[in-house]
Symmetry: C2
Subunit: 228 residues, 2 copies
């Protein structure tokens, strides 16, 4: 399948490598292709720049956000949640038809210190995936994979021998089937469909506990499991 990954950070890179390894054709979208490919400064987490990373992964295509959105049969929002809507506007997401958009982003507020806060909440307003679905009603938005580190997203066996849960929310049953098959290809077994896109707000609200647990446990790979 042709998959567009919108965003070139650690999440986008990790997904790109994993999807390419499964035989998908991957194009990553970025704001300024020449600038991204020329970048050499490591990011704030000490990870290589996108330019350096791409030298080792040059089978992954790189284009503008709109190049990528036009290329992909499935789009992945791997941007920071705070800029996702603006990025989708640059990607001309309103004119790419009813493609599946896998939203793995979290809309976090770093302005009040660490840990960052989640802007997704129940009573005062909608979550990120709901906002994207409202802004781009043609896209078939599926929220998933936003409740774990990038490494766990593509390799669930890192946690508890693969025994943890990934959630999925969206309005379109076929889109969820497509996403489910991608998740299964990564090794996910406990895929919990929580319902329509309104349920994604609840899943986005898991991030504050994830961040606290990360603070307590450090770098240990971990994930939520709905234990029965």
């Amino acid at each position: 399948m042709k998959i567009a990954i919108l965003g070139t950070g650690m999440v986008g890179q990790t997904l790109a490598v994993a999807l390419a390894a499964k035989g998908h054709e991957v194009m990553m979208g970025t704001r300024d292709v020449a600038k991204s490919l020329a970048s050499t400064e490591p990011n704030g987490y000490g990870m290589p720049s996108f330019g350096v990373w791409h030298k080792d992964h040059n089978s992954v295509r790189v284009g503008t956000f709109s190049d990528a959105a036009a290329f992909g049969e499935v789009l992945v929002n791997a941007s920071s949640g705070g800029v996702s809507l603006e990025m989708l506007n640059q990607a001309k997401a309103g004119s790419v038809g009813n493609k599946v958009l896998i939203d793995v982003a979290n809309d976090l507020d770093f302005s009040k210190g660490m840990p960052p806060m989640s802007r997704s909440n129940d009573v005062a307003g909608a979550g990120l995936a709901e906002k994207i679905q409202t802004a781009y009603p043609n896209l078939r938005v599926v929220k998933t994979l936003n409740t774990m580190s990038a490494f766990v997203m593509v390799n669930p066996s890192l946690v508890s021998s693969g025994d943890s849960t990934v959630f999925m929310s969206g309005n379109d049953a076929d889109a969820k089937k497509t996403v489910q098959s991608i998740l299964q290809s990564f090794g996910w077994k406990d895929i919990m469909d929580l319902g329509d896109i309104t349920s994604s707000r609840a899943v986005e609200m898991l991030m504050p506990v994830w961040l606290r647990a990360w603070g307590v446990m450090g770098q240990t790979p971990f994930n939520f499991k709905i234990a029965r």
Copy 2:
């Protein structure tokens, strides 16, 4: 230990029975003792009224909120989150010293239909346990047990042979030790201390996923596990 349970609903009843079975002296607090003991109407979930329930559990003392708060060495907030602050005011919680208050409540908004929404959110305001701690700075508030059904609270072996997680948040280390020993007496093994009371907001934000998962799975006992 003398334990006061503030609130006579299903959560309060379940905790009262379990704590009494561990040898604690339990007093339940209610707004109007005579009216509660005379009640015969089943509640909205088809559970027996408090009056009927108490006939079978009359070793559990019953008093006003302030009777109970004066009696208990440890207080438990088992009220609905929306009325907890008013109830603590009736309990004269500001004048009972620095007792431990175990807050198991969730502040849910049922006004927009089902599932109810959580009023706890990161960016727009504090969570319930934080509000209680601010209103009653002498109390040593520990948030715990709010992320599962009452039956699982007191019997974690109902879920995954006991392999699920209970969170704990609070500012006072000794209070957390007291709470930990109560949790251990119920059989909890994976007790995750997430930090000071500000971390309780994150834990309260788990409720929306709990409610969605409940909707998907029905009555199955389940709980969150932080899988490593």
